[in-house]
Each structure stands twice: as structure tokens, then as C-alpha cells.
Symmetry: C2
Subunit: 383 residues, 2 copies
Amino acid sequence: MKIGLLGLGTIGSGIYEHLKRRDDIEVVRILELLRHPGLEHLETSDYNEILNDPDIDTVVELIGGLEPAHTFTVQALKAGKNVVSANKLMISHHMEELLTLAKENGVQYRYDASVGGSIPFLYNLMRYRGADDLQSLSGIVNGTTNLILDVMQREGRGFDDVLAEAQKLGYAERNPAADVDGIDAECKLCIASAVAFQKYVKPEDVDTEGIRHIAAGDIIHFKQMNRVCRLLVNAAKNPDGSIRAYVEPTLVPADAMEAAVHMNNNTISVVGEYCGLHTFQGQGAGKDPTAFAVELGLRDIMDGVTARLNPIPEGYAAVDNRQARHAYYLRTSAHPGVPVEKLGDCEGSAAYLTEPMSVSEMHALAKDLRDKDPRLFFAGIRD
Amino acid sequence: MKIGLLGLGTIGSGIYEHLKRRDDIEVVRILELLRHPGLEHLETSDYNEILNDPDIDTVVELIGGLEPAHTFTVQALKAGKNVVSANKLMISHHMEELLTLAKENGVQYRYDASVGGSIPFLYNLMRYRGADDLQSLSGIVNGTTNLILDVMQREGRGFDDVLAEAQKLGYAERNPAADVDGIDAECKLCIASAVAFQKYVKPEDVDTEGIRHIAAGDIIHFKQMNRVCRLLVNAAKNPDGSIRAYVEPTLVPADAMEAAVHMNNNTISVVGEYCGLHTFQGQGAGKDPTAFAVELGLRDIMDGVTARLNPIPEGYAAVDNRQARHAYYLRTSAHPGVPVEKLGDCEGSAAYLTEPMSVSEMHALAKDLRDKDPRLFFAGIRD
């Protein structure tokens, strides 16, 4: 197998090192704007040198972001090259186009590494197809926010303080928006749902709330409730054939499995009619784990991935979060406008417990109330 | 694919029902001593009717126990039939013979369902081969004992009381020895180690301690230590190329992942140089989960399992548990004979904390002390 590698950042250099150990996979060209000592003979800034090289059968796309990753991937698939990628943002926005193009051109598009890094979640979901009917999935798929929540809960520190430390240690990006606003988790939820339920999910249909506004005072209330806050993704089949899909901070019981997921680890679960609840845990990001996952994707292609392991969803899911209902923790200085029980004061606001209400109702309410209280925070309460 | 099914007990009837949904796999003969209404045309008490039927390409062995399961499996492999089994006792004792026979006869022997039921642990370990170097594995692989420990810890009840209830509800067998003495876990550890480290492990080389002697009084001490007791299997590479392999009750911190594994669930983890710590959780037993795992094994055969997904270990591991060291909780009425700190009295005995000592030393010490105190209990302490 001869590889054209797009991007030699952290993950790219990781996969380059991993593949050097193998004699059946060779990186023959690297698309990079920078030059790296010892690799100049492989590096180019001209993508056409990869696209037009008939020896290159597979492209590993590690550029990240929507463009030019999307255009390069489309071109590679049309040129009859397999593509392996961990780019969740791009995949979640172009999944239908890319899987269809791959099928039309008789090549593979492997994106196992895009959800959960090295955790073989997507691969196993694909493997279960046909032997089970998957009902729901949920989990912690963003390591940065889990680290922040875990440290806040265990050390009683504030959000800004912990975020700044995470940035200093390299666990959070300088612009943390994609992580702390739940966008990264939302992309992963769309991809995982498409694999589990075989219907594409549009990112804009997902109700998404991040953790940007959580405060140390909130944590005090969570502890009194014997609960722990985690940023969870959730998707499930509704009885009428639509699906529910949302991302929100969630208060789980202190002895729940998710409460024992510490630092920047990930956990993701699926429920099947036959297999029951299956949970996969591990490092969701990082150089070696992600490179490991990309390498497995390349080997799957060499082994001849079956149709079962590369399902093509049919059409788009109707997303309806009005059918998902639970109580919420709500901390705001505004008047809630829905029936609540007051838990106490909290950092100049008041903390409330709502009655069970739908996910779509709560996310809409928060949007309204933020006109008066931009720092409002809420979290779903899970039994 | 045409199946000869050996045994129509709980799992056997589960797999029969699951396979009825498929048009690519058909059960054409069932070896059973009893007759089941509507299935008489498939049932036989004569194994030769399966063995000598050239239409049957695959045998699903769900008899359990060493014999006649072992003899039947050997005969099937020699007759050029694939075999799928969940029989951990038999596999752990005959793994080398069965895998070698399968290879020699150009057929597959699939045993994914033997460790962790539906949890795809063995399958993923096999898939990681060549892409990572696995260092260690550990976990909770026996649901019955986990249920007993979890209920004892949460409700403060005694062992006999909880065991009796578990037996009444069908979670424990009438003869619970294989579960509560750690034998079932030991078998699974041998199989998982062979896959992870590619060296067979003899059950008799494993230091194994069960939970038969745990008392409600012990749990009080664990709570004071802010710890939870779980029956863990452990295996890891020693620096000198030998491996450590042992089964023992283990006190984990109350916020550890294993402490959040409740009731009869299983969890099993592996550490790789690249992938880091990967954990798999789910139902380790039961009709539907096990049938699901057997069905996946059958599909793997139909898909053409690659050599990578069916590795043949080379030779036997040298097991050396002198190189694994940690402190122990020890409750006995005998004089410990090793340096200890007394924690307090406990059900007519005394509870102690030992200094770090080797696993082989502790298991040998317990054997000695049981001459004086048959009800002695000990548990490793994990950081």
C-alpha cells in the first residue's frame, strides 16, 4: 500500500513514525507547507503530485477543518484512491457525499478514528450490523471538556482557572470554542448516529449545549445532590421512527460509570436489542492513539473491508428532541418562566431544579433566557 | 453456512432463535438428549450424524464442560468443519491443541464468546495485533461474583445471604464453586492472555483466589479505606519476558472505573504501547448476549477471517508472579507471620494491612494459614 499523507502535524508525524515499522505500507509523499529535516524528499506543497501519482492508492487526510480537506478528499475518491481520515468536523458535514463517492468509485473511505480516537467504537458498531438492532448510544466523546469538569469537581476550582491550566499543558486549544461549546462532541454524535442507526444526522438538527458557563458554585450544588457533571452526547430511536440527538452537560449519579471516567478519557456506549449495553473506553485523542486508529483503518483496507464493515446510511434522520424528557438543573439570574424548585443561591444567581421537560424545550428556553443572563448554565439530570 | 448445533440449553436455544432470522446461516442438525416440540426433525442423540454430514460445514459447541465437548471438537476440526464455541473451561485447557488442529485442517476455531460473553474483547485484541504491543490486561470477567460483591458492598449483607438470593434469581449456579472460587475467571484469564501476549498460559500456573470467604465485616473495613472490592483478573508482561497472571479479590479506590461496574456486568481492559488503556464493558453472560457473540463468530467465518484475526500463539508463557508486588488486606484468626499493621477486629478474627509483598508469596501464605484458619480472606490493594 502506498500512501499520500496530507499534513505532518502531531497526528501526521505519529502515523508516519508508526508506518515506518511496517514493510507493507509506505508513505511515499507528504503534503506539507513546512519542510522537515530528513523528509524533504517526500514533502510537497502541490496536492497534484499526490493526486496524479498512479502509485499512490491511499490518501491519509490529517489536515483537519472543512477546507481544503473536503475538496482534497473528493478529488482523491474521484481519482480512485482510498481515503482514511480522523477529521470529524469535515466528515460530519459531508458524510453522505463522501460515502457515496467512495462507493461509486469502488474505493474505501474509512473514518473509524474520527470518534473516540483509538477506541474502536465505530468499527464495532459497523461489525454489529445485521446481528443486532441498535437502540441508543451515549457517552463522553470530548476529552478536553471531561478534563475540565473532572478537575473542577475534584478540586473545587473555577472554569477559567482550569481551562487556562489545560491550555498551558496542551490539553485544550488556544481557541477552545469547538471543545467547550460542544461543537466537537456534536460532530462526533452525528457520525456515530449515522453508523448506529443508518440515517445521516445534520449537525444543525442536534440540540447542543457546552460547558462554557459552568461555575465552581454549580459544583457545590452537584455535590449536595451526590452527582457528577459530564458533557454527554445522546442519540436514540424514538418510537415513531425519528431519532433524538443532543449534547448537553448532564448530572449523573456519583456511582455511575461516567463519573469514574477521569481526566481527558472518553467513554461511549451503545444499547442493542441482543448485546445489551456495551461500553468502550480509552484515550479519545493524542498522537499515538489516533495514529494507531488510522493504522488499523489502513489495515482494514488491505484486508479487504467487507460491505458489512463499510455501511452506507440511507437518507437523513428526522431529529425530534421533543420526545426526550427529563428534569434539569438550571442556574440563572433571570426568571426561569417554567415550574421550578429553588435549590439555593449560586454566584449571584439562583440554582433551580425544573420539572421533567423536553430537551428541545429546555434548549429553546436557555436561548431565550440568555438575552437577560448570558452566563446561564443548565444540565440534564439522568436517573 | 450449514450448522450442526451441539446443545440446546439456554445459549443453544438463543442462538437457534437468532439464526432463524438469517437466510445465510441454517441450523440443520441439533445434538440433544432431550426432544423439543417442533424441533424433533432436527434433533439427534448421535454425534456421527453431524460429523459425517458433508453438508454441515460448521459446528457450534454449546455443551460446556471438558468432555465430551473436547472430543467432539477435535473430531469436528479433523473432519474439516469450522467450530465456534463459548466453552471457556474446555478452551483454556486445550487451546494449543484446538488452534493447531484448526490450522492443520484449514478451518477456523472461533472462541470470541468465551471471554466476556457479548463484549468484543478477544476480537479487538486480535485486531490490534501487529499495530500495537500489548503490555497488560485486567478486569472483572465473572458476573456472578461481581453481583455478590456489589450487593454486599451496597447493602451491607453477608456472603451466604447474597449468594442464596443470587441462586434463587438464576444469577448463580446451584454449585457455585467455579464462580466463587475464581475458576471461571482463571479460565478466561488464560484465554485472554494467550491472545494478548501470544503465549499459551496453563491454568495451573495462575495464582487464583476467589471470594468464598469474604464477610460483611470485611466490607466495613473496605468502606473505612474508601475502597470497593472486586474480583479482578490480571496479566502483564514482566521485564524478563515471563508474564504475571493471577486472579484475586482486589480493593480498588471508590472512584475507580471497576467500582462503577455494578451487578453482574463485566469490564476488561488492555494496555498497549500506542493505544493506551482500552476498556470494554457489558454483559459477560446470558442467552441473548452470548448468542449475539456466537453469531458474530459465524459471520466472521463467512466473511473469511484473516490470519490476523485468528492468531496462533507460539509456545507456553513462563508465569512468574514473584515480580508482581503490592500490599494486601488480610483477615485471619491465625498469626499472619509477615509484617502487618492491624486495622481492627473482624468477625472473631483480626483485619490487617500487609507491607507490599509478591503475589506468589501472598497466595502461598494464605494456603499455609488456611490449615489453622480455613475462613481466612485476603484481597490485593491497588493504587
